[in-house]
Structure formats: C-alpha cells, structure tokens
C-alpha cells in the first residue's frame, strides 16, 4: 500500500511545491549554515589537531633557572620522557612598532615548524618567521630582517603548534601579532647570537617534553621540583638580589648558628682549661696556710712555748697564749700573727670559692654548648622542613593548561556547539511547521482517512504515509544543504577572523563524517519524531468521526460571551476555534526566536564583556612580578595574586586569589579579616553560579592543596575569575612574609626593570582582549541572526497562511451572505493579530530566558562571565518588528484570499 501512497507523496510535493520549496530552502539553508559554521570550526579544530600530530606537539613545557645537566637529562630520558631544548631570547626590535621577537633555534623533533611558505633556514644568515607577525609587518620570503644589527634573509614563513595562539606570555589576555612574533634560526646562528653580547635579556631555558611509557606530567614535575641548585649559579642580578632577601636568609641563618656554636665551643674549652688548675690552686693555698702555722709553731718554740696549731684551733690557741701570765710582752706579736693567719685563711677560702665558681661555669658552659648544638640541629631540621633550597624549576605548564596551544580549537568549540544546537532547534522548528501542514492535510482529508479506516487500513499505515513527506522534504533539503555547504562556498568568511588572529596554516574546508550524518539523518529523524508526536493524535480518531469530520467544540462552552457585541463575540469564538492554529503559530515563533536568541546572547555577551571590561578595569597597568623589590613603589598598589584552578562544566579554569588592601583604589572591595569569607568577582559568580553564602573549593595544583571559601559578597568585576581577600590574611594563609607582594596596580606606567616582570597588562590590553572575543564571534553572530530572522519570516508567513487557509471556506461563506471585506477582516483575521501580539509578548522573554539558561552550556569552554543581560529596548524593538512583519504578511495573505471566488471554495468543499 505504501508503494501506491508514495506516488501521492510526490504529487503532494508537486502540488504544494512553493510551500515545500520554501520549507526545504529553510532546512537546506539551516543545514548549509550549520555545516558551514560547524564545518569551518571542525576544519580548524581537526586541522590544528592534525598539525599538532604532524609537527609532534609537546605534552608540556617547563622552564629552569639553570639548564639541565647531562645526568639530569639522562635521568629524565630513563623515566621514559623525551625532552627537547627550546631555549630562546626575547629581543626588542630597533623600531618600536616592530615589537619583540622571540628567537628560537629551528626545532628538531618537538613543536616542529610547519612552513606555510618557503623553507626552514639552512644557512646561518637565514631565518623562518612566524606567519601572523609576518602578515602584520608585510614580511615575505626573501625579504631581509635585521635583529641586533645582524641581517637575516627570510627563508620561509611558518607556524608552530605551541604558538597556535601567539600570546607573548601565557597569562596575556590577547595576542598582538603587531608587537610580538617568533623567529627561528639555525643552531650556528643562535650560538653566534648568544655569543655576540647583543642579547638584551638572559636566555630562557625552556624545555618541551613528550611523555612516553605511561609517564605522567606529575612524575616529571615532581622530579624537576626536587632538582636543587646553588643560587649563585643563576645568571641574573635581579634574581640574586631577590634571593638574597628571600630564599637566601637560609644561608645567613645557618652561618649565624654555626658561628654561635663555634664561639660556644671556644668558651667551653677556655673554661675547661681554667678549671683544670683549680685543684692545684687550692692545694697550694692550703699548703701556704699550713706552712705559716708550722712557721708560727717553730717561732713560739724558739721562745720555749710549745703549741700545736691547726686551721681549726689556731685562733683559740693564740688567744689562750696571749692571756697566759708572763706573756704580756708578746701579746701584740701574738695578735699580729693571729691576724696574718686570719688573712691567709680568708685568701685560701676565697680561692676555694673562686675555683668552685669556675667549676660551675664549666658545667654551665657545657650545658650551653649542648644547647647550641641542639639549636644547630633544630635549625637544620627546620630549614629542611621549610625547604629553603632553590629549586631549579621556575615554571611547569602542561599542554592542556597552555593557552597558546590549541587556542583556535578552544575558540572554535563555541562555534561548533552553538552551530549544532542552533541547527537542532531549526530542524525541530521546521519539522514542526511541516507537521502543521500535515495536520492541516489530515484535517482536510479526514473523510478519506475515515473511509480508508473503514476498509481496514490501520493508523500505522497512514502514519507511515503521512510522515513520508516530511522525511522526503527534510532529507532532500538536508542533502542539498550539505552538498552546497561541502563546496566551502561560505567557509572562508566564517574562518577569516580566526586566520587573522591565530597563527595557523590555511586548512582546506572539509565536512567531517558526523556532519554528513547530522545533515542527512538529523532532519528526517527530528521530522519523524515531531510529526509522529503531532500527527499521531490526529489519526487517533474513530473512522466514523473522521468520515463525519467532527470537530471538537468543547472550548467554546466554557466562555460566556453574551454581554458582548456580535463582532466581538464572533471574533473571540473564532480565536478560540482556531486556538490550535494560534498555538502553532506562537510555537513556531517561539522556536525561531530561540535560534535568534542564540545570536542575541552571543552578541550581548560580547558587547557586555567589552563594556564591562572597560568599565570594571580601574587600573591602567597591572604588573605581575617575578622578582618584586623589597618595598613596593610608592605610586603603585601592591597585591598578592595566587592562581588556583576550579572546574566548571567539565573545563578547568584559572581562578586568581587576590590579596589586596582595604584602601586599594582599583577594586571596590573591602575584604573581611578572614581566611574563608571572601568576596568574589561577578564574572566568577556568573560562571560558577555562585551567590552570597555559597561555599566553594579551589585547587592549588602546585601544592596539591584545596582551599575552601564562603562567598561573603560579590563585587562587580567582569574581567576574570577573582577571589578577593585581605592581603595580610592571604600572606599568612600562604606562608609568605608580612611584606610580600607579587602584583602591582597603577594608574600610570611606572618604571620597573623588565627583568623583574612576568608580564605587564594594561587596561588597553584588557579592553582589546574583550574586543577580540567579539570580533572572533561576530561572523557567527551575524550568520545566526540573519538566518534566524529569515527563518522567522518564512515560518510566520507559512503558519499564518495555514491559519488563513483554514478560515478560507468560512470567509467565502460569509462573503456569500454579503459581508464586506473590512467586516470579514474584523470577524476572521483581526483575531490573529491579538494571537500574534499576545504570543510575542509571552515568547520573547520566554525564549530569552530559556536561551540564557542554555547558553552557559554552549560556551562552557570560555573563561568569562555570563552577563547576557539585554536592554529592555531590545525587547520593545523586537516586539515592534514582529508586529510589523505580521502586518506585512497579513496584507499579502489577505490579498491572496480575494483571488478565490466563493463558488470555487464552496465547490472544493463539496
């Protein structure tokens, strides 16, 4: 049976050729645009991926203070990691407008050069130059190029996968190929340049690596972190000065403790020596005292007086002798002897006390020596704990965290996701429009369907038949759309902005397999689903009700309209009768507005970002410091920035914890004196859906630590994901000293030695970066907006035509009764205006709201806030445009009605 009915499909197609041609054109256009936008994105994504493979893109890179030793490189090789030196010099060109060139050797194995023109340099007077820089400066193969007084000939123009996005610093907000480019010279030329003494900055020891044998970035990083060097090996004065007051305090501390220990030992030795004579002194003094007693005894014995004197009795014996009668004459001499002995004893006792004190001093010094030894050990332990050793590693960047790598791919992912979703909405919309036509056909063929049912034809037979037409139309349209798109006719326009920003080779536009499947399968499948859903209930009636063409009129009963005039009553009843058609028009309007809102949201986001970045960025310059001076310059606001990571919708973004003073004039923030209660930027709140009171966690991948915070407040700041803290609290939290800072904000350019800087970000850079975002998305915005506007017009036209066609018979009937055109318009057509007006009032904000909810998912890989707030005037203008469109379309369609005579329409009805 389907075989026979299929003939009818093609005849229906032929009969309603204009209608289906318009729909087919819309589907074809939709497919064409989706395939062009997504295909262009995929071409660039796959092209850059292919080139990454071809040029052997690194898995990551790291910088060190001192180039790795042979043994270190061997160890890394044994780990199963391939390394390649990619050392470079940054050289400011003589003419300021030429900016800076980064001078590399020609790469051998990793991140190899892909020549877009010419060849790699072979001679030492040749160089290859990066494509975007060459374009900005109109440099061609064969031109001369002078660096530091040396004349090189351009041998070729190239791109490299590790500078897909040619950002000078990885933290830069935008690329500026006018002021930054890469050049590649031979090994010999590089060595000569190094030896020439004309280098303006020290050489950067950058290594690229490729992981093999299942090794991970972390394993390599852990190994590199453990490579310690002597600070004196670093050939950088600014570093030396910085190290001296930061990491260098370790040596001072060690030296001081060592000096103390030595001095203590010396004192101990001396005291030991001193105490060694104590016994002799005491013995000698004892002996002197004893000898004097003996001499005294002998002297008295010469006078015939025999006495025995000892230290204990000499005073008593001499006093007794002095009192003995007959010795009055000797009394004076005896007292004198006694005094001398007393003095001598005091001397002896004094010496004893002295030597005892010396002994005590020796014991104390021994204890002190032990204490200093303990201090020395403890200091050593503490220094080990705090790791004051200088790690050779200065930066470690995985390819996935490097914004230069796959910058094009990351940008184009938005186009791809937006394109696919917009396409799906367009297909649903158009499938729905087709289903409305099919429903219209079913209703007009109701008695035929009933008759066929009465013969035993089943609902499924007819369902299959009725979805054939949508399937055929959508399939053919999809095929035409994808075939035209596959020629790449519009692809260059879409891709041009990328080629003018990213440093990539020109890729030949191609349509990936999945887009062919998407184009050929998606529209028919969506058509089947939508039509089955819509048609099924229409066919789900009894044969008899279909034959009788019964129309449900239940709705009218609910409304009491007796008090109104005839015209009003009739018009309302007509609107209620045609409510389903009205809903169909409004639904069509809603779906086409959804596509339009994608373009609107993209545009609004870009313009809001540009405006907000300009308004929210109060500083003129932000200096990120590698080696900050001890004291921040007086005309700058010091801050402490620390970068962590936070995941959103599958993407891991940098989040900066920024410690600032209360008085910082560049941020409208008064951070609390708390390690957990923080203020976040509005961009961060929008991206992560955070609000006041929420708790969140950020990860410090370097230290493998997580920090948990609570949102105390949200401040208007759009250019970046920031967590604001009090600088002192942050210093304490991060274990830095009380004066530490690494960022300076200023309202004018200040003089900082370039060697101290990681990067300088000016307000102009920030604003320019935001504008780049808009210019990259603009082709897609225009394409989406224009195509959705066309689709909207066509859908509105077709759906209104259905509404008017459905009324055609009734209109003809009342024409027969003698109603005039203006009256007919009032009765049958003006109701449509209210439906459209009311519908637009509802679906305009609704479609915007829904798209605002979906939009973050479409641009989930973009690190920006989600300010898609749209001015109210936009809705007013959109509403006015919809009504204007309605009037134009209505006028065209009503004129068409005049072509039919009542007799003709009534005859057709029979």
């Amino acid at each position: 049976m389907q075989k026979v009915l299929r003939k009818r499909v093609f005849r229906s197609l032929k009969k309603h050729l204009i209608r289906y041609a318009m729909l087919g054109m819309m589907i074809g256009l939709g497919i064409f645009l989706v395939v062009t936008i997504v295909g262009s994105g995929e071409t660039l994504v796959r092209g850059t991926e292919g080139m990454a493979k071809e040029t052997n893109l690194e898995d990551g890179e790291f910088e060190v203070f001192v180039s790795l030793s042979k043994s270190e490189k061997e160890h890394i090789a044994k780990m199963g990691i391939y390394l390649e030196e990619q050392f470079y010099f940054d050289q400011q060109m003589e003419k300021e407008e030429q900016g800076t060139v980064r001078i590399f050797k020609v790469r051998k194995s990793l991140n190899k050069l892909h020549m877009t023109e010419g060849a790699e340099p072979r001679e030492k007077n040749e160089l290859a130059i990066e494509k975007r820089y060459a374009e900005e400066h109109d440099i061609r193969v064969g031109d001369d190029f002078v660096i530091a007084g040396v004349n090189y000939r351009i041998s070729g123009i190239c791109v490299v996968s590790d500078y897909d996005g040619p950002f000078k610093e990885v933290s830069d907000t935008s690329c500026n190929s006018k002021l930054f480019g890469l050049v590649f010279i031979t090994d010999e030329a590089y060595e000569e340049f190094r030896a020439s003494g004309k280098t303006q900055k020290s050489e950067t020891y950058l290594y690229s690596y490729k992981l093999c044998n299942g090794k991970t970035d972390k394993e390599l990083k852990d190994y590199l972190k453990d490579l310690k060097i002597d600070a004196s090996e670093v050939d950088d004065e600014l570093f030396a000065e910085y190290w001296d007051r930061t990491g260098g305090v370790e040596d001072k501390l060690r030296d001081a403790v060592s000096d103390l220990r030595e001095a203590t030992d010396e004192v101990a030795d001396a005291i030991d020596e001193l105490s060694d004579n104590n016994e002799d002194i005491n013995e000698a003094t004892g002996r002197i005292f004893d000898s004097y007693l003996e001499v005294t005894e002998k002297t008295f014995a010469g006078y015939g007086i025999n006495i025995s004197l000892s230290a204990d009795n000499y005073e008593a014996e001499l006093d007794k002798l002095a009192e003995t009668p007959g010795f009055e004459m000797l009394k004076g001499s005896i007292e004198e002897v006694k005094d001398q002995l007393n003095d001598l004893r005091e001397y002896k006792d004094g010496l004893k006390e002295y030597t005892d004190a010396i002994d005590e001093l020796r014991d104390g010094t021994a204890e002190m020596s032990d204490g200093v030894e303990e201090l020395d050990d403890s200091v050593n332990d503490a220094l080990e704990e705090f790791d004051f050793e200088l790690s050779n590693l200065t930066s470690f960047l995985k390819a996935s965290d490097n914004q230069r790598i796959f910058a094009t791919k990351n940008d184009k992912m938005v186009d791809i996701e937006v394109g696919v979703i917009a396409g799906a909405i367009i297909f649903v919309l158009l499938a729905y429009v087709i289903s409305v036509f099919v429903v219209h056909s079913i209703e007009s063929e109701s008695s035929i369907i009933g008759t066929l049912y009465s013969m035993g034809v089943t609902k499924n037979d007819l369902l299959l038949h009725y979805i054939s037409l949508p399937v055929v139309v959508t399939f053919i349209s999809g095929l035409i759309g994808v075939l035209v798109a596959s020629t790449g006719i519009m692809a260059p326009m879409i891709a041009e902005s990328s080629y003018q920003y990213f440093s990539i080779a020109k890729f030949k536009f191609s349509v990936p397999e999945y887009l062919w499947i998407y184009s050929l399968v998606c529209p028919p499948v969506i058509a089947v689903i939508v039509n089955v859903l819509v048609i099924s209930s229409k066919l789900d009636r009894t044969a008899l009700s279909l034959i009788r063409n019964e129309v449900k009129q239940k709705t009218n009963k609910k409304f009491k309209l007796k008090s109104m005039s005839f015209i009003t009553t009739f018009r309302i009843r007509q609107m209620l009768r045609e409510l389903r058609s009205g809903i169909a028009v409004v639904l069509g309007m809603f779906l086409s507005l959804m596509v339009f809102m994608i373009g609107v949201d993209c545009y609004v986001l870009c313009t809001n970002i540009a405006d907000d970045y300009a308004n929210d960025t109060k500083f003129e310059y932000m200096y990120t410091l590698k080696y900050p001076e001890e004291e921040a310059p007086a005309d700058a606001e010091a801050a402490f920035a620390y970068t962590c990571k936070k995941e959103a919708l599958g993407f891991n973004f940098d989040v900066t914890i920024l410690g600032i003073d209360d008085a910082n004039p560049f941020f409208n923030v008064k951070p609390a004196n708390s390690k957990t209660d923080v203020i976040i930027s509005s961009a961060m709140a929008e991206k992560y859906g955070l609000k006041k009171g929420d708790e969140f966690v950020v990860t410090d991948e370097d230290k493998e630590t997580k920090y948990a915070f609570s949102v105390n407040d949200i401040t208007r700041y759009s250019s970046g994901f920031f967590i604001f803290m009090d600088i002192d609290v942050m210093r304490e939290m991060m274990g830095e000293n009380k004066d530490y800072y690494n960022v300076l904000f200023t309202d004018k350019a200040i003089d900082i030695d370039p060697g101290r800087l990681y990067s300088t970000t000016s307000r102009a850079d920030v604003v320019k970066g935001s504008e780049v975002f808009a210019s990259l998305m603009m082709p897609m915005i225009y394409t989406l907006s224009i195509s959705s506007a066309i689709i909207f017009c066509v859908v509105l036209y077709l759906m209104m035509k259905v509404m008017i066609d459905r009324s055609a018979q009734n209109i003809s009937l009342i024409k027969v009764f003698g109603y005039r055109r203006s009256e007919i318009r009032k009765l049958y057509l003006d109701g449509n205006f209210y439906i459209i007006a009311l519908g637009a009032l509802i679906v305009l904000p609704l479609s915007k709201k829904l798209m605002d909810m979906m939009f973050p998912f479409m641009i989930s890989n973009v690190a920006c806030g989600m300010n898609v707030e749209t001015p109210f005037i936009f809705f007013v203008a959109a509403f006015a445009v919809i009504l204007a469109l309605y009037f134009v379309i209505n006028t065209i369609l009503v004129r068409r009605l005049d072509k039919f005579t009542p007799a003709e329409i009534l005859k057709n009805r029979e």
Partner: protein, 233 residues
C-alpha cells in the same frame, strides 16, 4: 444467517442531549443476499450500518458476522475484521484526490492476500478507460464506481453501502445499482445498502424498514426486479 443482529441498542449523548438511536434492533441477512435498509432521516439506518461495520460501538445486544461477534472487539481486531470481511461505499466517494483511479483502488488491494483481478474489476465497473485519471477528472458516477471498485478489490464478503446513489442523478444511480447487482451475482457478495430511495428495495432480496430506532417492517422480496428496470430513481 451471515449477518445476525440481536436486540442491538445504540445511543448518543447524555443528559438533555441523550438520544437512543437504536432501540433493540434484531435483523438477519443470509450470505449472498442484497439487503436494503430504509427509513426516514434519524431512523437509525446509518447507525445500524456503522454498528455492523464496526465503525460505531454497540451499547448492548449482539452483532455477529459470519459467526464473529463484533460487539466488544478491540480496535485492532475490528480493523482486522474490516480488512478481512468488509467493503464500504459512502455517499461521498472520499477518493484520495491525488491518486489515479487505479491507484485509489490499489490502496485497498494491498489489504488482502487474495484480491480480485484489477483489470477485470476495472472492466466490470467500466473504469478501464479512466484508470489513469484523477478523481477530479471524473464524473460523480465514475467517482462512485471507483469507490465501489476500491471497496471490492479486496473481495469482501460483505459490502456496506451508505446512500451509494445519494449524490448521483437518476441515470448514474441506475448504472451504479446495475453494477452492484452485477457484483452480487458475479462474486456472491452480501450487500447491505442504506438508502432513502424507495425504488431500490425492489431489486434486493431483503428489505428492512427502520422507524425511530426500531424495525418497523422487514420482509423478503419475492418479486425482485432487475436494476435496469427500476423506476423513479
């Protein structure tokens, strides 16, 4: 009996709009018979035909076709019943406008494994020369013949005709009736014909009169006349 209807009741609406259309109708038709159901507007004749055709539910009673009770059959079983047993012809032909005569007929040919021969049927119904025309290129009679051919192609045992000549002029009506007679004779198709036309009762085997939902009269027509001899069509 090929068609056995017992005490069939059918009503519509509820409350104030409740109407009992069939009030316990019992009829029987033998295989191969042509039967006319006559009555005034609202007498319930089309409702009876629809109930027998499984197009309308039955409130109570029984309706057996060739022994198959169709009262209470589920949707798909009813569909099978109609597919295997029935042919329907309506006053308005309800042809698919953008299919030719042949294709309109073919739509139903695929419903059975044992269809009639298409060319023979076209020949029988006088449609051979119009086979490739679209309905809009045919007269009313030709369209109705096409509708009959569409109903007959699957060789139904029972042909239900609801006012088959209602929209036709006298001559064309006669042609259609001759055709139905011919089919009955040739294929032995049992036919139930609902009509206002008083003359048609003269050509059929059995006549049933309905009045206000009840059988007013039914009888076997002992003095049948050929369709071509009918008067006042």
């Amino acid at each position: 009996m090929y068609v056995e209807v017992e005490n069939l009741k059918k009503s519509y609406g509820e409350g104030g709009s409740y109407v009992e259309v069939l009030k316990g109708v019992s009829v029987g038709v033998e295989r191969g018979e042509m039967c006319v159901i006559q009555g005034t507007s609202g007498s319930g004749k089309s409702t009876l035909l629809n109930c027998i055709g499984g197009l309308d539910d039955i409130d109570s009673g029984s309706c057996k076709i060739d022994g198959l009770e169709i009262a209470g059959l589920k949707k798909d079983k009813l569909s099978d019943y109609r597919r295997d047993t029935l042919g329907f012809v309506f006053q308005f032909y309800n042809l698919v406008p953008n299919l030719t005569v042949r294709e309109n007929i073919e739509v139903c040919r695929y419903l059975t494994k044992d269809p009639l021969d298409m060319d023979e049927l076209l020949e029988t119904l006088g449609l051979k020369e119009h086979a490739e025309k679209f309905p809009s290129q045919l007269s009313g009679g030709q369209q109705q013949r096409t509708a009959i051919a569409r109903a007959l192609i699957k060789n139904p045992k029972l042909l239900l005709c609801d006012e088959p000549t209602g929209a036709l002029d006298s001559k064309t009506s006669r042609d259609i009736l001759i055709l139905l007679e011919k089919i009955n004779e040739k294929y032995g198709t049992t036919m139930l014909i609902v009509t206002h036309n008083n003359s048609i009762k003269n050509m059929v085997h059995r006549v049933i009169f309905l009045k206000d939902g009840e059988i007013a009269k039914q009888y076997m027509n002992e003095e049948r006349v050929a369709a071509r001899e009918l008067e006042d069509l």
